[in-house]
C-alpha cells in the first residue's frame, strides 16, 4: 500500500547563502495510511518547518516528499486535493459566519452544493456549533474557532490531515472534543500527522511518534517502544504528610537518585534502578521521621523519553524554551 507520507533526505536552510544552520537536516521517514503520527520536538527543532514543507507552504532546499504517492515537486495538485490543514493559529475568516466559512472551504475543494451543505451541517452539529452557524466567527471563543478551523480542514474528508499543535490554550472540554475527533477520524481511515508540544497527548493519541531535535529525527517508534528504550529514566514518586524545609536537597543526596522533581504535593525521584533506591528511601523516611502518604514506582513516560532525547532537563518542558519550572534539583555529575 502507498505510504501516506514518504520523505527522503528532506532539508531546509532558510539562509539565502546556504551557510546558516539547517532548520531541517536530511530527514527521512514514512507515515502509513490510517496512522496517527505525532511529530514532537522543542521550539525551533524543525517541527513546523517540516509540516509546512509537507503541506506545500514552504519550498524544501533539498529532498523529496511524496504525499499519498504524489511527488510534490512534480505536481502538488492531486496531493493538495487529498490533504487538510489545521495550522497552530485558527485561521478562520472572522468576518464570515461559521456556515460561510465552511461553504467557502467546501467550494475550494470542489464539493457540490448538496454535499457541502450536508457535510457542513454534520460537522457543525458534531462540533457543537450548529446553534452558532449564522454567527460571525469574530464572536467565537478560542475553542470554538479551533473547532471551526478543524471542521474547515476536514469538510472535504481528506485522506491526510495535518494538525499543528491541536489543543494548546484550549479548555479541557474543547481539548477532549478535539482528541475524540482525532481518534474518530483515524478510525474512519484518515491519516493524521500532528505536531505537538503536548507529550502526554501524543502518548495517548499516536500510533507512532517521531522526535525531532536540531533539525534531525532523533527517534521514531511507537510510544511504548520508545519508553522501553529509556529504562534509565524510571522514577519513584513519593508524598509525605509534611514537607519540611530542605527536604528537596536531602532527597537529592540519596544514593541512586539522579534528579528530584516536585510535582504538586509529590516528589519524583529519577533513578536507573527503583529497587536499589527503595531501601535507601525507606531508611531516609525513618531517619527524618517522615510519614509516607503514597509511594509509587513509575516507568519512563514519553515526556521523560522526549527530555532525554532532546537533551532538555527534566522539568524544563514549557511553551518557551528559556522558561524554567521551579522545584527541580539535578544531582551534579549525573
Amino acid at each position: 500500500m502507498t505510504h501516506a507520507i514518504e520523505v527522503h533526505d528532506l532539508t531546509k536552510n532558510y539562509s539565502s547563502s546556504g551557510s546558516g544552520e539547517l532548520a531541517v537536516d536530511q530527514i527521512n521517514f514514512t507515515v502509513e495510511q490510517g496512522e496517527i503520527f505525532g511529530f514532537l520536538g522543542p521550539n525551533g527543532a524543525g517541527k513546523s518547518t517540516t509540516q509546512r514543507m509537507l503541506t506545500t507552504l514552504l519550498t524544501p532546499t533539498e529532498g523529496q516528499i511524496l504525499i499519498l504517492g504524489h511527488d510534490l515537486a512534480d505536481d502538488a495538485y492531486p496531493a493538495k486535493r487529498q490533504i487538510g490543514l489545521v495550522p497552530e493559529e485558527s485561521n478562520v475568516y472572522t468576518e464570515l459566519t461559521a456556515w460561510d466559512n465552511l461553504m467557502f472551504t467546501g467550494r475550494l475543494y470542489r464539493m457540490s452544493k448538496t454535499d457541502r451543505g450536508i457535510r457542513a451541517e454534520e460537522l457543525l452539529r458534531d462540533f457543537g456549533l450548529w446553534e452558532k452557524k449564522d454567527v460571525k466567527a469574530e464572536e467565537f471563543s478560542k475553542g470554538m474557532k479551533r473547532r471551526l478551523s478543524i471542521a474547515m480542514a476536514i469538510i472535504h474528508k481528506p485522506a491526510l490531515l495535518f494538525l499543528d499543535e491541536p489543543t494548546p490554550g484550549l479548555d479541557v472540554q474543547s481539548a477532549r472534543t478535539i482528541q475524540k475527533l482525532i481518534r474518530q477520524l483515524s478510525s474512519e481511515g484518515t491519516t493524521v500527522f500532528m505536531t505537538t508540544h503536548q507529550i502526554e497527548e501524543a502518548n495517548q493519541l499516536c500510533d507512532r511518534v517521531a522526535i525531532i531535535s536540531h533539525g534531525k529525527i532523533a527517534a521514531i517508534d511507537t510510544p511504548e517502544k520508545l519508553k522501553q528504550t529509556f529504562q534509565q529514566v524510571q522514577s519513584v514518586e513519593i508524598s509525605f504528610t509534611l514537607s519540611p524545609n530542605g527536604l528537596e536537597e536531602k532527597l537529592a543526596t540519596l544514593p541512586e537518585v539522579s534528579t528530584v522533581l516536585k510535582i504538586g504535593d509529590k516528589w519524583r525521584l529519577y533513578t536507573e534502578s527503583p529497587p536499589a533506591l527503595l531501601p535507601h528511601l525507606i531508611k531516609f523516611t525513618e531517619i527524618e521521621n517522615l510519614d509516607i502518604v503514597s509511594l509509587n514506582t513509575l516507568a519512563p513516560s514519553l515526556e521523560d523519553v522526549f527530555l532525554q532525547i532532546t537533551g532538555q532537563q527534566i522539568g524544563s518542558v514549557s511553551e518557551e524554551p528559556s522558561s524554567k519550572k521551579t522545584g527541580m534539583k539535578r544531582k551534579k555529575g549525573k
Partner: protein
Amino acid sequence: MKNFWTRTIDELSQAWIVTLKDIKVYYLRPGMIMFGFLMPFFMFFSFSVKREMAAGDGMARLLALTIFFTAAAAGPFIIPTERRLGTYDRLLAAPMSLLTLLAGKIAVGAFFAIAVSLIAVIIGIFFLNASIAQPALMIAGIVIGSFTFSAMGLIFGSIPTRNPGDVQMPSTLIRWVLLFVSGVFVPLSEMSTIARGISYLSPLTYAQDLMNHAVLGTGELALWLNLSVLFLSGVIFLLPSIKLHKRGRVLGY
C-alpha cells in the same frame, strides 16, 4: 485533453471563489475604503479646486485616478493581512495553482475599481454635467485599466511580509511617483520633451489618454497603443508577483 479542461474549469472556478470570498470579507474594511475609495476622490477634488477645467476633462481625470488608485489598493492591503492572520496559508495549501490564486486576487481589486468607477461616472454625468464620447470604449478602458492596476498592486502584496504597513509605504510611494510623472495633472500636450518621455514610463499615462479618447473623443496617443500598453503591462505585472510568491515560499511566508 479532458483532464486539461476539467482542471482549467476547476482553476477558473477557484479563482472566482477566492474573489467572491474577498469581496465579502474585505470590501467594507476601513483600509480598502480609505485607500481604495476615498483617496482618488480626495486627490481629484483637491487638484480641481480653483482650476478651470472642462467637465469632460475632469471626468476623464477622475476615472483615470479612480481605476489607478482603487484597483492598486486591494493587493497591498489584503495579502499581507491574510498572511498575518494565517488565512493565506489556507489558500496556498488549497488545490489550485499560484496563477489561479493571483488571478482571483487581481479580480478582487479590479471589481472594486470597476464599482468605484461607476460612482465616478455618475459624479461626472450628474454633477459635472459631462458627456461621454465613446461609452463602449470607456467601459473597455475601465475594465482593462482596473485589471492592469490591480495586477500592479498585487506586486506589492506579494512582498514576503506579514505586516501590511511594510507594503503600504513602498506601494504608496511608487503610486505617487507614477501619478506625478503621468499625464493626469499636466496634460501630455503641455509637457516638455523630457517630461513627456518620462511620462511614457507610467502606465497611468496610457490610462489617462484612453479615458480622454473615451470621454472627450480625442487623445494624444494612438488608441491601439493605449490599449496594448495597458494590456501588456497587466501581463508583465504578474511576473514579479509570481517570483515574489515563490521567494516567499522559500523564506517561509
